[in-house]
């Protein structure tokens, strides 16, 4: 369920690393707990985010949740499609439902993230 090539946080975000750019989204577990996503608030391109700091909000019909950056860097792109059609996060959390792309400031931060096996174990315990 959780793609093996991605990195994960305990706050249920994922990162796909391609060179010096990371695509960020929320996991299947996150979208399933939130329910129907109706609103996404993320910073515009150019903004700086810090690893594990709050960078935005994601809101479903029933709840709002903070988004935490898996990695630090500068926002290189925002998924305008997902902002317009937030249900993409529910339908395709690891694909069309991505949120932002980051130009990484420090590749060594990757060592603080979980791999798919560790994350799957975390969510299996109900967190």
């Amino acid at each position: 369920m959780n793609p093996p090539e991605l990195k994960y946080t305990k706050e249920h975000e994922w990162a796909r690393i391609e060179g010096n750019v990371a695509t960020i989204g929320v996991t299947h577990f996150a979208q399933d707990s939130l329910g129907d996503v109706v609103y996404i608030d993320v910073p515009a391109a150019g903004a700086e985010v810090k690893q594990f700091a709050k960078f935005g909000e994601i809101e479903s019909v029933k709840a709002v949740s903070d988004l935490f950056a898996p990695l630090g860097g500068r926002v290189a792109a925002v998924n305008e499609e997902a902002k317009k059609t937030p249900e993409l996060v529910n339908k395709d959390p690891y694909g069309k439902g991505w949120l932002i792309k980051l130009e990484l400031s420090d590749q060594s931060q990757l060592k603080h993230l979980m791999d798919a096996a560790a994350y799957t174990k975390l969510t299996a315990s109900g967190h």
């Binding site: 329910g35 129907d36 109706v38 609103y39 608030d41 809101e59 479903s60 019909v61 029933k62 709002v64």
Partner: protein
């Protein structure tokens, strides 16, 4: 599952809140509302007693009819909102909110004790709590009547809007009330408690979608219907809550009449208004409403608090963020703009007339 008024209730079923809302708007959905308080009042004194505690013209309520109303204390504070149904010449059913049921009943019983000591012979009132013995399933949506009709041999559609009747639904003997809390046509179906689960399964088999509390909250807000505990509490009066049309104040001995007439004559400083978000963001219960832009030029300094959000959500039917809240009266006119403090960020909203959604008449 979440705790709700002393019951475990589903927020949503696996298809999710938006799909459940769409089912009710486009076809038919059902809600297990067996948690709601149901109390029968009967006897020769019941009509007079109920007239003293409900904002309803009790003698005028015909057999088989129902009336939405508010239950107010002597100060005019809204203790609950409720529906009263006349079941027979001397029998009435009162349906109250689960979370208020204990407080309502304690208050009603104390009023009844006073009534009994002052009214004397021939005015007996019997009170029977039916909450545990009778189930209740609300079946709502444009196809609800057709589906229940099919399961009741055509008996359901003979019951007019806001009326009450009895029929076998899928073989289960039920009381049927053509009322609801979604803005759609439909029934609140009351089977014996021990057959409620069987009825639920048969309704599901007939194509009625299962819906939870989350969808119910979205639907009632789209329809501009208040939720007691959110949009009004005992601290509010029904006039500022926009419920004046549900007040009958001329009943014999109605206990809130004096207070409510005084409030009505004096006007209220704040009023419950509907709003739509103009900028992206979703208002939620408890957020501050503040003066902004053109509204601020009226009287209040920009940024001054002028109200509070009581309900807010994303409306899938309108594809817009909507809400309601109390605002100072001068900001309540449709078209007035104000800011909502969404976790420290001011997001603009505009006052609009409720309901947000009105069903198409068949």
């Amino acid at each position: 599952m979440v705790p709700f008024g002393g019951w475990d209730m589903p927020v949503q079923y696996p298809v999710g809140i938006i799909s459940e809302v769409r089912a009710v708007r486009n076809s038919a959905g059902m809600f297990d509302v067996s948690h709601m308080g149901r109390v029968e009042f009967s006897g020769p004194g019941a009509v007079r007693f109920l007239g003293t505690v409900l904002s309803v013209d009790m003698p005028a309520l015909a057999e088989g009819r129902s009336k939405y109303h508010v239950i107010c204390n002597e100060q005019g504070g809204v203790m609950d909102d409720a529906i009263v149904y006349r079941l027979g010449p001397e029998r009435w059913l009162l349906v109250i909110n689960a979370g208020n049921a204990d407080a309502d009943m304690a208050w009603l019983r104390s009023r009844l004790a006073g009534h009994a000591s002052s009214s004397g012979a021939g005015q007996a009132v019997k009170v029977e709590v039916l909450s545990q013995s009778v189930g209740m399933v609300a079946v709502q949506g444009p196809k609800a009547v057709e589906i229940i009709d099919g399961l009741s041999g055509g008996a359901a559609s003979l019951i007019k809007r806001f009326w009450l009747g009895e029929a076998n639904v899928a073989g289960v003997p039920c009381r049927l009330a053509r009322t609801g809390y979604t803005g759609e046509d439909g029934f609140e179906v009351m089977p014996p408690a021990e057959r409620a689960a069987e009825l639920w399964v048969k309704l599901a088999a007939a194509g009625v979608a299962m819906c939870g509390l989350g969808a119910r909250d979205v639907l009632r807000l789209e329809a501009g219907l208040c939720l007691h505990g959110n949009d009004m509490t005992v601290e509010n009066n029904p006039i500022e809550a926009g419920l004046e049309r549900f007040l009958f104040l001329d009943g014999e001995g109605y206990i809130a009449a004096a207070a409510l007439k005084r409030i009505r004559a004096g006007g209220t400083a704040r009023v419950l208004t509907g709003f739509k978000m103009v900028a992206p963001g979703i208002a939620r219960h408890g957020m501050s409403i503040v003066a902004s832009g053109q509204a601020g030029a009226l009287r209040q300094a920009q940024g001054a608090q002028i109200g509070v959000v009581t309900s807010g959500t994303h409306s899938p039917t309108l594809d817009a963020a909507i809400g309601m809240g109390y605002v100072d009266r001068q900001f309540a006119a449709p078209g007035s703009r104000f800011g909502i403090d969404i976790r420290g960020k001011l997001v603009e909203a505009e006052a609009v007339t409720m309901p947000f959604y009105t069903r198409k008449k068949m």
